[in-house]
């Protein structure tokens, strides 16, 4: 309805409405009275009331104008700013909202509703301060039921059902019609596979069309990775309230996550066309538009989608690794997946980030939704900063663990298993012990196993998510080492049977979680205690070593580096001891010693392509083609892109080592790298095919070599040899 028509209608109404009355109608699902009521508000002389009227009518632009006028008329009003901010929040403009709440607090110190607004803003990013701000709001206004409801919601987001119930009950005690608190109570029941009708009936009695309760429940299912159930709940919410655009948008996003593109687009476009243009809607639609740029490769168990600019190059690496990981996990976890794994690889990190938007504690490199895995391409990251194969194994492990448990698994266990598997197959893979984890161990910031999930969802210090990944992985390493891998499977089955971490630990490990924590810390201390204790000394000496190196005091560098190298052997980032040693040995002409240090770097998990290449060259010079090939091959799992030289060099080594199939893979990669010299690249590939006994493919590639260079004599010679035979 046009604004003018609304105004005419509003002026015709001769009864005086209040905002509270209108909100009451809406809260009880009385749509037409609510509409009439809000319409009446728009004829008020008070612009703040007019703004509320337009907001209630979803006329956001008019409401915004009215709020501005209200503020001009009453520049010292904190209330106007708070309400205006709340509208901004509804229109996904968090920063503007936060600014208004902050301004309100400057005008009226400790304004409870302004504090509530800031708490909501923080809660949307799962920030720790959201809880304390909500508590502060309640302190200022103990009757502020929305703040109490927010606390209930955040407790449930943290996975603390007991606290969530307590907080929700407090809200219900404050107001029997605290719909969102009732929704939290209902959600707890649903999450535990109970009907929850005692709560849903109450909700429906208050408001028979309160779809938001089901949308709220859907949110919890999604953040617990129970996407299918989340989708069903969103559908129910929309069926009750067809104009619940945020639920439609979320439904679209989650359908996209599960690869149901057609349905996803329908809901997203519907939301978009009704002016619900949140960042997630816009970005998801943009991402889906980019799908046309992806090439799809399918096998019975895989569905790999790669960007066309790098598809040919990456396909053999990703498909091979995915198939290998599936076969390994099928054997280890004694199960088959219900359908093919869809793997999407994004060269643009922003595209990948769209997939994880709004979800707390997910990996920054890869993400899993059911049997859909999305991850960064190595080309989207700085060389050496991303081990794509490790990430692939990590994410694929989620597919197995989530499938095995029907998504009923705490975050710590899912991430712990995935971290454990990264290094189980190859100790060089996976994350190294980083300074953040060392600091957390030193300051005793690791969480008890029973509450470890909180470290993923609502971190209380900046790198707590990363530390929690590390801790969860080490816990699984520890369980495997002490009780064997079967125990991890038993725990997984416990989670599948809907048991909590406490119960699973007690039943499977036969000990209290608190005792487990103690034993684990003793074990961890044996693993990393030396590093934690020696970290400060190591760091101090590393700086001195760097200075010595700058001053070309290579003997000093070697002496000091050897003394501290084993204090923190996991450190393989820029300025690591291994490279200082290798550089110093090189300067002194001792290439063998340099190679030895770089080999140690590679074996501990060093993955800078330039350093690994240097190692490969040194080993080649020393007449060790096997180790040289192994050094170069490590780069394939880190940065196989934009490096035809790597693939050519490795291909030649494989030929020398009589490994023609591996040579075929490398020379194929060289050809797919759009080489500077395609003739030689095709010729090399032909040589590899010939060595592998695949003469037709050898001939085919010779033709490709000679097509651009008909007079290339080595290729001509081989063509005649193949033709004669």
């Amino acid at each position: 309805m046009k604004l003018l028509t609304l105004l005419v209608l509003a002026s015709a109404m001769n009864w005086a409405a209040t905002v509270a009355e209108c909100d009451g109608h809406r809260k009880h699902g009385r749509k037409q009275p609510a509409f009439d009521c809000y319409l009446a508000l728009t004829s008020s002389k008070d612009m703040a009331v007019v703004a509320e009227g337009f907001w209630g009518l979803k006329q956001f632009k008019a409401a915004n104008d009215a709020f501005r006028k209200a503020q001009d008329a009453n520049p010292k009003s904190a209330d106007v700013r708070v309400r205006w901010g709340m509208m901004f929040l509804e229109r996904f403009q968090k920063k503007d909202a936060a600014d208004l709440f902050t301004e309100a607090l400057e005008l009226k110190k400790d304004d409870a509703r302004a504090l509530l607004g800031l708490a909501i803003v923080a809660s949307e990013s799962y920030e720790e301060k959201a809880v304390e701000t909500a508590r502060e709001a309640l302190k200022q206004d103990p009757k502020l039921v929305e703040a109490q409801e927010l606390l209930a919601r955040m407790a449930l987001e943290d996975g603390n059902e007991t606290l969530a119930k307590e907080e929700a009950d407090k809200a219900i005690a404050m107001s029997a019609e605290a719909l969102n608190a009732l929704a939290v109570r209902a959600t707890i029941e649903w999450l535990n596979d109970r009907p929850g009708t005692e709560w849903s009936d109450k909700i429906l009695k208050i408001n028979p069309v309160y779809g938001q309760a089901w949308a709220l429940a859907a949110h919890f299912f999604v953040i617990n990775r129970r996407y299918e159930e989340g989708i069903l709940l969103y559908r129910k919410a929309i069926a009750m309230e067809p104009e619940l655009w945020d639920a439609k948008a979320e439904l679209g996003v989650n359908l996209m996550r599960l690869g149901r593109d057609k349905d996803a687009r329908e809901f997203l476009e519907d939301a978009y066309s009704h002016e619900y243009k949140s960042a997630s809607v816009v970005n998801t639609l943009t991402l889906m538009d980019s799908y046309k740029n992806f090439v799809r490769y399918q096998t019975p168990v895989t569905d790999v989608r790669l960007h066309k600019k790098e598809a040919e190059l990456l396909k053999p690496f990703f498909e091979t690794e995915l198939l290998r990981a599936i076969a390994t996990y099928e054997k280890k976890y004694k199960m088959k997946l219900p359908n093919a794994v869809r793997l999407e690889v994004y060269p643009d990190h922003d595209d990948f980030a769209v997939r994880t938007m709004g979800l707390p504690g997910l990996g920054a490199l890869g993400v899993t939704f059911g049997t859909v895995v999305a991850m960064d391409s190595p080309s989207g990251r700085k060389p050496g900063t991303f081990h794509w194969a490790s990430t692939l194994w990590h994410e694929l492990n989620h597919v197995f663990v989530l499938t095995a448990t029907e998504h009923r698994v705490p975050r710590w266990f899912a991430e712990g298993m995935a971290m454990h598997e990264e290094t189980a197959g190859n100790p060089e893979w996976g994350d190294r012990l980083d300074p953040g984890a060392i600091d957390a161990i030193k300051k005793k910031k690791l969480l008890p196993i029973a509450t470890l999930d909180r470290g993923f969802v609502r971190p209380s210090y900046p790198n707590q998510v990363t530390v929690s990944f590390f801790q969860a992985g080490k816990i699984c390493d520890y369980i495997k080492e002490r009780w064997g891998f079967e125990k991890l499977l038993e725990m997984m089955r416990g989670f599948a049977a809907r048991k909590t971490t406490v119960v699973v630990v007690e039943e499977a490990l036969k000990m209290k979680p608190e005792d487990f924590d103690k034993d684990f810390m003793v074990w961890l201390d044996k693993q990393v205690g030396k590093t934690v204790a020696g970290y400060d000394e190591w760091r101090k000496n590393l700086k001195i070593i760097a200075d010595n190196f700058k001053e070309k005091q290579y003997d000093e560098v070697i002496k000091k580096s050897k003394a501290i190298r084993d204090l923190y052997p996991d450190y393989v980032e820029a300025g690591n001891i291994y490279e200082f040693l290798a550089d110093s040995y090189t300067e002194k002409g001792d290439k063998a010693a340099a190679a030895k240090e770089l080999l140690a770097y590679a074996k501990i998990g060093g993955r800078n392509p330039a350093t690994l290449k240097r190692l490969g060259k040194l080993l080649e010079e020393q007449g060790n083609p096997k180790e040289a090939a192994a050094a170069y091959e490590r780069i394939n799992y880190v940065y196989p892109v934009q490096d035809e030289e790597l693939h050519t060099r490795l291909g030649l080594l494989w030929l020398e080592l009589k490994e023609p199939s591996k040579a075929v893979l490398e020379f194929s990669a060289a050809v797919a790298s759009k080489p500077m010299d395609p003739t030689v690249a095709y010729f090399n590939l032909a040589k590899a095919f010939r060595a592998a006994g695949r003469k037709d493919e050898a001939r085919d590639n010779l033709l490709s070599a000679l097509e651009s260079a008909p007079g290339f004599k080595p290729a001509q010679k081989m063509l005649l040899e193949l033709t004669d035979k």
Partner: protein
């Protein structure tokens, strides 16, 4: 095309000299001065190995407009019709919306002035490689039939210092630049080599590309990023020999028949490649295979 190239190469090698005029301009900063002079020196060294090369390199204070004007006037008296004549500009260029200028000590020279100097050169095959910033703005003034223009930038608005020259010079040293393996580096091959390396530099560094090289070799129309039969560009550049990478083979009169046969097969291959788009791929590969085997056998006979 290839047979024709060989014939032209043979003609060039037998009868014409290869003129290389490299001009390195002002860097503005010491770093750029060093870089530009270094590339010019490297190019100078690389082309001195070309048979019958006439190499003239102007760097720093030597590269004034008056010196260059006189030099080109002198070249005009010496360069013959059958010679090849290559000019390479290394440095900074500017474009004020009307006129392109190459930055040198003293007054700069314009694209129009350079065109005027080159117009007096008799060589039927000319190549101007403008590796400077804003070089795209020089193309219109420089283009004419029988002259290939390569520019590191596609327009006068690409004003950042360029990298193209570094890779263009590298093409003279990297055997991989000779992609058709005929042991001759053509202007088209050097262009493609430098362009690909430049593109990769920006990709690897994850930086927005600030230069986009183009080529124009027909004397009319726009310069293009990807010279190819479908846009009609690249034929003359492919025929323009920059440097021989091997020794020219001498054949006895009795083998001349084989040489002619070889050239005939190469001609058939070129023709077939032009028909590729309209052919069934399997049929194309079959015919290509037959011709390539025939060519290989002929070459084997020639090499005996």
């Amino acid at each position: 095309m290839r047979a024709l190239v060989l014939l032209l190469l043979a003609a060039a090698n037998s009868f014409g000299a290869a003129w290389f005029v490299t001009i390195s301009g002002l860097g503005g900063e010491a770093e750029y001065d060093t870089r530009f002079a270094g590339w010019a020196t490297d190019l100078d060294k690389a082309v001195r190995g070309v048979p019958d090369a006439q190499v003239h390199t102007y760097s720093g204070k030597l590269a004034t407009r008056e010196t260059l004007r006189k030099a080109f006037a002198d070249f005009a008296t010496k360069v013959k019709k059958e010679d090849t004549f290559t000019v390479v500009l290394i440095g900074h260029g500017t474009f004020d919306g009307v006129e392109y200028k190459f930055n040198i000590p003293g007054p700069d020279f314009t694209a129009a002035e350079l065109a005027g100097w080159c117009d007096k050169i008799a060589a039927d095959r000319q190549l101007i490689v403008n590796t400077t910033s804003a070089g795209g703005a020089s193309i219109a003034a420089l283009q004419k039939p029988n002259r290939t223009i390569i520019s590191a930038t596609r327009s006068g608005t690409e004003k950042n210092a360029t990298l193209f020259a570094r890779y263009f010079v590298e093409a003279f040293r990297d055997p991989g630049a000779d992609t058709d393996k005929n042991e001759v580096l053509s202007a088209l091959e050097a262009f493609r080599y430098a362009d690909l390396k430049t593109v990769r530099f920006f990709e690897t560094m994850k930086r927005l590309a600030t230069e986009h090289a183009v080529l124009e070799d027909t004397g009319k129309g726009e310069a293009v990023r990807n010279p190819a039969p479908d846009n009609g560009k690249g034929l003359a550049a492919a025929r323009f020999p920059l440097m021989s990478l091997g020794n020219a083979q001498k054949f006895s009169p009795e083998k001349q028949q084989l040489v002619e046969k070889k050239q005939d097969i190469e001609g058939q291959i070129d023709k077939l490649k032009y028909e590729k788009a309209a052919m069934d791929l399997a049929e194309y590969r079959r015919k290509l295979g037959s011709l390539l085997v025939e060519l290989a056998k002929t070459q084997e006979e020639l090499d005996k």
